[in-house]
């Protein structure tokens, strides 16, 4: 006969908890893509307005978009990322939300 203590040690009841990525809500990122039509000054202005960036920082991101094809402007929770992408689309910028690696 096993004491209750022994039983719990030999056959521990392990509860497995599984969560999908959605449940964990892994951080998402807001990515702006290069576009040959939008003016550099316009893109800089949009970054300042939407993300509250300084002129210098906004220009750095704008140049990154221009030279490397894309720039990550923000990362965090999905809802806020969606809101940022919606604002950027309202300014007619090419923007997507992507899951961070």
């Amino acid at each position: 006969m096993h004491s209750p203590f022994e039983l719990s040690v030999e056959n521990p009841a392990i509860e497995q908890e599984t969560r999908t990525a959605e449940e964990l809500d892994l951080p998402w990122q807001v990515v702006v893509h290069n576009d040959p039509v939008n003016l550099m000054t316009y893109v800089t202005m949009v970054f300042q307005k939407v993300f509250g960036l300084t002129r210098e920082n906004a220009e750095r991101h704008m140049l990154e978009v221009h030279q490397q094809g894309r720039s990550i402007l923000w990362s965090g929770m999905r809802e806020r990322a969606e809101l940022y992408v919606q604002q950027l689309h309202g300014y007619l910028l090419l923007a997507t939300l992507e899951r961070t690696n």
């Binding site: 040959p36 202005m45 689309h89 923007a95 997507t96």
Partner: protein, 164 residues
């Protein structure tokens, strides 16, 4: 053509009939009907195709809002442009006053027009950077001129907004 800040307006004076006509065409140029590339550009995907749920929700809830936003901007610009339909003599230069409170609407409508025209004629990056192409020998050349002219106006409006 002269552009300057005048009180609460951005004043574009000495507008010759050709440039005035290009300005009149801004609202019409934002029309994406029949230009699939323009539709795709103005209402671009919010996420990679693998995120099909996000894309579907976006089409349902966000796209109609964006349509309304773009439509409102175009309507505001169309009202301002009614100044150009006055009873001035044919071929006379005219003046357009854009209230600074409408600057955002103008920036948006000009951007819509530039994107739609660029999609319609499928301009590449090199063409879009060719600001001195002349003479205008085709409808496509005129389209490029429009894109550049509207871009020039955007630059000026942005410059004025920066000055505050």
């Amino acid at each position: 053509m002269e552009i300057r800040r005048q009180g609460g307006c951005i004043e574009i004076s000495e507008l010759d009939p050709f440039l005035a006509e290009l300005l009149r065409q801004v609202p019409e140029s934002t029309n994406t009907e029949g230009v699939e590339g323009a539709q795709q550009r103005l209402f671009s995907s919010p996420a990679p195709a693998s995120q099909s749920e996000i894309c579907a929700e976006w089409k349902l809830y966000v796209e109609p809002e964006l349509r309304r936003l773009f439509q409102t901007a175009t309507e505001t610009v169309a009202v301002d442009l009614q100044q150009l339909n006055g009873s001035t003599k044919p071929f006379a230069n005219c003046t357009l006053r854009i209230p600074t409170k409408n600057s955002d609407a103008w920036l948006n409508a000009l951007n819509q027009a530039r994107l739609v025209i660029a999609a319609k004629y499928n301009f590449n990056e090199a063409e879009l950077c060719d600001h001195y192409r002349s003479p205008i020998g085709s409808r496509r050349d005129l389209g490029l001129f429009q894109v550049n002219f509207y871009g020039f106006l955007q630059e000026f409006i942005l410059h004025e907004l920066e000055k505050g």
